[in-house]
């Protein structure tokens, strides 16, 4: 009766779950401050989990836990990105925690559990495992958003995120219950099978709710309202984390849900996705224009980026998904670099977050200014930076699918977006300098260097990323 599930498929997740519990114990029983120790151990765990993911990439593919958990090339690709983004933002956070003298080892544990939730989302092959993974991730994120609890803004961010996130989860759960009620199953493969035969209206209605919930999690318009406030209120390293890992996981989940079980309903969801993508691009580019706070700016920027990435999902074929995956990888590098700089914006130990604080950075620290300029050019999609290629692949997939309007709107909003990205460059290079920033920490400098080199020189050797993304996209459309 007791047949053991194939655990090796879920080895990275099991490792992280167990390690999270152990780290919690270490943190509790460590005499004195355990923040540093637990933090670096958490980074180590993520790296090891990444190795395990890659190790299983070639050999293990398939489902386990009664079809609730799936590992394929797509999952591996997304997991590596999630783990990388989490580990890097955790490293950035540790420096920030030390600078702010916050002694809370729970932070790293929560980030670890959030990352675990993301891996579970990426590997979800059942509505129930999807939901549980999503909740694990969201719950941990609500807490880290408000973890600077003495700051009113941070508390507000956490509370807002929590309330709106709960509503989104509730909507999604409602939709799932309808899907289950009208199809009789929660498993993705069985769902795809059932829906290929007959498509009840109830499933479509349920799907709309699920999409609304997922769109909230990727902060796509019109479900983006929380993003600027949460990004601004949350502590800066948390914002960096929010902008990276959860986005990747949620987009990956979105792609898997839409192209897997609901592939046959594409006629129903394609228009909805179209509207979501276009609205996100517009909100992202126009909303950012008036912003003075760089974290709010990054919030709108991420809304816009999600819009561009979702173009690939509107297209809904293999090429589109490949475009998304490439876009996400480049997005991670651009954003981690930008946040490494934002986290280095400190004068005499005090953190700054106004755009005007960057004035004259080219004179006070030219290297940092150059790096930020590279990231801004890249985000604006100016060739030959990496960001250009990200946009290029999704637009081209839209053109190939005959969705010219989508591509045109994308290009137009990119032009609008370029305005505020270039404004930062202008502030750095043409405004009068204020006081110089403190020297950034070593970790920040290293991350900055890696991200900068990638963004600048991606054009030289793009094929590995292209091929991996292609293989990953292909695995998604295997069945």
């Amino acid at each position: 009766m007791t047949s053991l599930a194939n655990l090796s498929l879920a080895a990275p997740e099991l490792l992280m779950a167990a390690a999270g519990l152990v780290l919690l114990m270490i943190g509790v029983y460590q005499k004195g401050d355990a923040t540093r120790l637990v933090g670096w151990l958490a980074v180590l765990v993520m790296v090891v989990a990444g190795v395990l993911v890659l190790k299983g990439a070639g050999t293990d593919a398939g489902t386990t836990f009664k079809g609730m958990f799936v590992t394929d090339a797509f999952a591996v690709y997304a997991k590596v990105m999630v783990l990388g983004a989490s580990a890097l933002s955790l490293i950035l956070s540790l420096g920030w925690l030390a600078q702010e003298e916050i002694k809370k080892f729970e932070y790293s544990v929560l980030v670890l559990f959030a990352t675990l939730g993301m891996l579970m989302m990426v590997s979800a092959n059942d509505l129930m495992s999807l939901y549980i993974g999503l909740e694990l991730q969201s719950l941990a994120l609500y807490v880290v958003a408000s973890f600077k609890r003495d700051s009113v803004k941070s508390t507000e961010a956490g509370l807002k995120y929590f309330v709106l996130g709960s509503v989104a989860s509730g909507m999604m759960l409602y939709g799932m219950s309808m899907i289950y009620g009208f199809s009789g199953t929660t498993n993705f493969e069985v769902l795809a099978e059932v829906l290929s035969e007959h498509q009840a209206t109830g499933v479509v209605v349920g799907l709309v709710f699920v999409m609304a919930g997922l769109a909230f999690k990727v902060s796509a318009a019109p479900f983006h309202m929380w993003t600027p406030d949460v990004y601004e209120g949350a502590p800066t390293p948390v914002t960096a984390f929010f902008a990276l890992a959860p986005k990747i996981a949620a987009i990956a989940l979105f792609v898997r849900v839409m192209t897997g079980p609901f592939a046959d309903l594409i006629g129903a969801w394609q228009q909805v996705m179209w509207i979501i993508a276009v609205l996100s691009m517009i909100v992202g580019s126009f909303g950012a224009i008036g912003q003075q706070n760089i974290k709010r700016l990054m919030a709108y920027s991420s809304i816009g980026h999600m819009g561009y990435a979702l173009i690939g999902l509107v297209v809904g074929n293999e090429e589109g998904v490949q475009g998304i995956l490439i876009y996400l990888a480049i997005y991670v590098f651009m954003n981690i670099g930008a946040f490494a700089i934002i986290l280095s914006m400190r004068q005499k130990g005090r953190a700054l977050e106004g755009i005007s604080d960057l004035a004259g950075l080219s004179k006070t620290s030219p290297l940092m200014a150059a790096a930020l300029a590279i990231f801004m050019f890249s985000m604006a999609g100016i060739p030959p930076m990496a960001g250009f290629f990200g946009k290029f692949y999704v637009f081209i997939s839209a053109v190939h699918a005959g969705m010219y309007w989508l591509a045109v709107i994308g290009v137009l909003t990119s032009v609008v977006g370029a305005y505020y990205y270039l404004r930062i460059v202008k502030v750095m290079y043409f405004d009068e300098p204020t006081e110089a920033f403190d020297t950034p920490r070593l970790a920040n400098r290293v991350i900055l260097l890696v991200a900068g080199v990638f963004t600048l020189f991606y054009i030289v050797y793009p094929s590995p990323l292209l091929l991996t993304a292609q293989a990953a996209a292909k695995s998604l459309f295997a069945y």
Partner: protein, 200 residues
Amino acid sequence: MIIAGLAFYLFAIIAVAAAVMVITARNPVHSVLWLILVFFNAAGLFLLLQAEFLAMTLVVVYVGAVAVLFLFVVMMLDLNTQVLREGLAEYVPLGAVIGLILLVEIATVGGSWLLSPEMEQVRGAVARTDITNTQALGNLIYTDYVYLFQAAGLVLLVAMIGSIMLTHRVRPGVKKQKVAEQLARGRTVEVKKVPTRGGI
């Protein structure tokens, strides 16, 4: 069975009526008490489905623990529902429109009710009589659904870590009673002569 049918309608009607009272009661404490009544009737419905374990769990967990905490919070907060209700009128039209849309959706959906073959099987499922439903539940949870079960445990753990992290404050200078130290003194409790106003 007539009695089972009557009981179903009794539980169902009370549950719905009490649920309406939850949102219409003026006093928040009364709302929670009505909510408890809803839980009870839901437990009753579970009993009618011969799911006695779930019924009892519902009472133990929701009524015995969750609702108690609700009551705690609601009683301690000085809620003024009058103030909370201010501005309600503004949102009524919006809410009514959304509610109407949902209703229409559900009506269309219900009109096109179409059951898949899998669902028909579920409907036909009868309670197994050879084992109690506690055992049946255990057999499922710890085998087929072990992944979800463990993951749900992690979700709860994260909730616990979160609430402790956000509320626990280490206050310096608090004199804590350390029972282990007190007991470790052994039999060497001594009586000292304390000078007036001097202390030990």
